[in-house]
């Protein structure tokens, strides 16, 4: 049962393997260049497992002891995870003890795959999601640890491998669009509110405003969107 789940899960993690090994190694190399032992990138990758926050943490750790700033920054950068949780409430409902780890490891990339990809016939959704989560988590920890150990010895000369992550999200966004008209209003709202927030607030501060705009728009247009989603939803399922 486990073997079948791993076999089904692994191919879906390949793009994430490329992206996470590379990004994780970049993070480890960055930590090493700032004088940290490899244990730091290893432990933060293991326990924080939120890429952009870990990069930000590298700078925080070099400054003065500022616990409130650390909490605030983590909230701002990671608040988007709340949306992933809301989206997975149903799919992760009856997962037993696995649920704790599944929620803990719900990063952007893992969320995208476990939300979008249906496990093949005969493979348990819980195990399928579990192995996708474990594999993604391991890639990140392995990348960060190796980067921390070998530092600048690791040749990271080729730039841009992390585009695999962008490509992953583009594919899943496209799948949302191909799934039918029912998703179109949401897709447009997501793109437009994020772009507006980006133009107004700039790249480092746009996430929270984008989330707020998105919630406002989805709330304001609830009636038409919901009836569209319910109507078309029946056709598909």
């Amino acid at each position: 049962m486990h073997i079948a789940a791993i076999k089904a899960a692994f191919p879906h993690t390949l793009p994430i393997m490329a992206g996470f090994l590379f990004l994780g190694a970049s993070y480890g190399v960055l930590m090493a260049s700032k004088g940290f032992s490899f244990l730091f990138p290893m432990m933060t990758s293991l326990f924080v497992f939120a890429g952009s926050m870990e990069f930000a943490l590298a700078n925080l750790l070099l400054g003065a002891f500022a616990p409130l700033e650390a909490v605030f920054m983590a909230l701002v950068i990671n608040a988007r995870h709340i949306f992933y949780g809301i989206s997975m409430l149903d799919k992760y409902r009856a997962m037993g003890i696995k649920k704790l780890y599944l929620i803990f490891a719900l990063c952007d990339e893992t969320f995208s795959v476990v939300y979008q990809v249906e496990p093949p016939e005969g493979v348990d959704r819980g195990l399928f999601s579990l192995y996708i989560s474990i594999l993604d988590h391991s890639y990140w920890v392995i990348g960060a640890t190796l980067g921390g150990i070998f530092g600048s010895l690791i040749p990271l000369g080729i730039k841009g491998i992390d585009f695999a992550m962008t490509a992953l999200f583009v594919v899943i966004l496209l799948e949302q669009i191909l799934a039918g008209v029912k998703n179109l209003p949401s897709v447009l709202i997501g793109l437009l509110t994020s772009l507006c927030a980006l133009l107004i607030f700039g790249p480092s501060d746009f996430l929270i405003p984008a989330m707020a705009f998105m919630l406002l728009a989805l709330t304001a247009l609830r009636r038409p969107i919901d009836s569209l989603m319910r109507k078309k939803g029946r056709d598909v399922s």
Partner: protein, 109 residues
């Protein structure tokens, strides 16, 4: 900062991150029927969130300086075209990333 203070900082970041991931599951326990609005959000949010994630990935691309976001634009177009033709996730991602890598490392440098 001494080692203990660093560990406290890392632990706080880890706990805050976990809080953002666990919050919806803790607030909306499964034994009660979730509020209708939440059910709506569960359906309507994901397509919007994937839009946000694409923007998030491309947030630092500058359209005003060389290479004007061209590698990203071409990469995304290749991903979309491959996906419309083959509808195979891996093919689209590997193809698009490959083209992007060639562009940023060999062509538009």
């Amino acid at each position: 900062m001494n080692l203990l203070e660093m560990i406290v900082m890392i632990a706080l970041v880890a706990l805050t991150t976990m809080a953002t991931r666990f919050a919806p599951f803790i607030i909306f326990k499964s034994d009660k029927a979730p509020p209708k609005f939440l059910g709506y959000l569960g359906r309507a949010l994901p397509p919007a969130v994937f839009g946000m994630l694409v923007v998030y990935c491309l947030k630092s691309v500058s359209l005003l300086a060389f290479p004007f976001g061209l590698p990203e634009l071409i990469g995304v177009v290749v991903v979309v075209c491959l996906h419309l033709i083959f509808r195979k996730m891996l093919v689209s991602i590997i193809g698009g990333t490959g083209v992007y890598l060639v562009l940023v490392n060999l062509v538009l440098i």
